[in-house]
């Protein structure tokens, strides 16, 4: 489900980009699946169509989706490449966050505990 949080400091169009990219990478949106039209999604989320268009344009630039003028926007068939890039991106962000935690006194064991909790409590 595509959502936005108006209270979030992150701009709406960036929320949409990250949200839809993640849904596509996780497989919740299938390759060639038809996305809501610019006007329809704007109506659903009660935001301006221009904001949706801005997000869709950036998603197309990132090869997450492709547009067929007059027909609509669709999930890219080769979403796999995007998925690999996104994984690397999140791992880099994670490495940075580990450094931040370490710098304020976090012990390796404490982080290992977080890691175990994230991977043991849920599926896989």
């Amino acid at each position: 489900m595509i959502t936005v949080d108006m209270r979030d400091r992150k701009p709406i169009y960036e929320q949409l980009i990250d949200n839809i990219r993640t849904l596509a990478v996780q497989g919740h949106l299938k390759p060639d699946e038809h996305l809501p039209s610019v006007r329809q999604l704007a109506a659903e989320l009660a935001i301006n169509p221009n904001t949706i268009q801005k997000a869709y344009a950036e998603l197309e630039r990132q090869n997450v989706i492709y547009a067929l003028p007059g027909r609509g926007n669709f999930i890219s068939p080769d979403i796999g490449a995007v998925a690999r890039q996104e994984k690397e991106r999140q791992l880099r962000a994670l490495a940075a966050q580990i450094t931040l935690a370490k710098n304020v006194g976090a012990q390796k064991d404490e982080i290992r505990t977080l890691l175990d909790a994230a991977y043991d409590d849920t599926t896989r």
Copy 2:
């Protein structure tokens, strides 16, 4: 050393808050140590005194520093409590980032490798 990055999207006053809080928590700024005056730091960093004042006011609210009108701003003597809060804050952020990485396909082993690298390559 207190610095700011004008290219960073994060507001200057927030950069100052995080920067000084981290320096204090890490012990690079000692309890009761005298901070640069609002006007002096503004001159050094080539930014407006109001921006420094905004950061100092928030740091005082967070008990990172205390102000003596007419004398200056000083690092809080009980910075330990702040350090504990900050550590918890970073661990929560880390847990969230682990979840993000996991959701885009990161394997536990990959994260463990990052963790080892962060703690083995440097001191401690």
